[in-house]
Point group: D2
Chain length 151, copies 4
């Protein structure tokens, strides 16, 4: 798995996001981890294990979506003011290929930032050795709750 790289993001922002991520019980329970934090862009990796599978042994669409949703949420969060909080309004995701590989990597990227609403693109890759396959792609709308600290 790639080493964590956090180019460009300030230490404060990184700390805020790592702290928030660690309070997401689901991410810990699934075994997901933050692998990249940059302004408007966050990556989350999920090792492929039986605990995240569907009935054919691939990663379940729900687990694929969960890391995509969190990656997009934190990508938006990197651009929010300090005392704000983020909520997912909605998202849509296409499952493009069987989610296989050693691990999945979700990439959340801000397409359109906004004071109230932010729109992200979500891409999830299956990674096996040097090969990355796009297994899901989506689009997400997030809302910034001003003056609602994340914790």
């Amino acid at each position: 798995m790639d080493e964590t790289t956090e180019d460009q993001a300030s230490p404060e922002m990184r700390a805020r996001i790592r702290d928030s991520f660690e309070r997401q019980g689901l991410m810990r329970h699934l075994g997901a981890r933050l692998t990249h934090i940059a302004p408007g862009r966050v990556h989350i990796a999920l090792p492929n294990r039986p605990e995240v599978s569907q009935q054919h042994g691939y990663v379940h669409a729900g687990a694929t979506s969960a890391i995509a949703d969190s990656a997009g949420g934190y990508a938006a969060f990197t651009l929010f003011p300090e005392h704000a909080s983020v909520l997912t309004v909605e998202y849509k995701i296409n499952l493009l290929a069987p989610a296989a590989g050693e691990y999945l990597e979700a990439v959340g990227e801000v397409v359109k930032p906004g004071r109230t609403l932010t729109v992200c693109r979500l891409d999830v890759f299956g990674v096996q050795a040097d090969r990355r396959t796009l297994v899901a792609t989506g689009q997400q709308t997030l809302i910034c709750l001003a003056d609602t600290p994340d914790r």
Copy 2:
């Protein structure tokens, strides 16, 4: 939590779906369970625990989506021929309210069955004592893989 009710579905169909569900490692890992199987309609319940939470303590959108996706998938599956398999093509979900309560219940229901594609409505309720609150609603497209046994 409601007692399991499986009105209308044949014993064979119920067995096929229970068997498939039990092979979904993610559902077991999240603690989800099938609570209703009827032709074109499946319910899945998810107890609210720290292992499925987001950073504010509510159920994570990813966990909410995961049970919604499985409920819709199995709702479609109830209408498929015997030796077919089901895959999610895509879904879209709106998170309407904080996902709170003792447990969530996802209801997947077929809106339009088809030989190749089936469209489902997805609703997720937060249940606290006698009170049910709609916390998410979505729409899903599934594909029937003929002659591709589910196991």
Copy 3:
């Protein structure tokens, strides 16, 4: 085509919505008309003519979506405060069957009203004599712009 029925909506609300609808050049150009205005629910009918067709002679998904989007937008608008305006944030629509019939009728209905965001369900029917066929179904998110008069 059904007679216009406007049960329950106040004369002021009906006037506001009819006035806004008439300023939608696209609705006039397509030949669409408002057929029902109630709190949280609006219908729009579109006669089937060559001007709204796709390449096989059915109504184009774009025209089907256009009346669905307007129906949902005005359904939300019926619940907004007096000096507010409505904008579509996003929508998703499944085309379920060939859009045929003498006319289409789009039904926009509020699923979850909110101070900032409102979520609607969108259904479009093809109507031929007494027969109504569901040809499209969707889900839409709208935003209320407070203190931004619609005109």
Copy 4:
């Protein structure tokens, strides 16, 4: 408006798509025209006129979506076998900014081609002199109907 460029696409493919587009009564009625045809990528331009407006004078979300849907449909169609036809299964679109400018340009691009289902990305730009603004972005699923000629 940009000159039509049709790099890479074969004359037969261009003819098939132009012929199909011309049978879309809606595109003609809206004043839309094909401005680019390449394998897996099609552009459609829509001049901004009162006939395509919403109540505030911007281009209506329905017109924006209509050209996005057609652009994605024809982008998929460029990759289909000769005697096949294309239908939109579903799409989701976010309206990101007021759709203003002299004209809109929709860009449909295949993200994942497939024998049965193809997934496209949809982007719509508002163009004013040299300035292009992303006004909408979406994601679309299309189905290939084999042995179903487009006309």
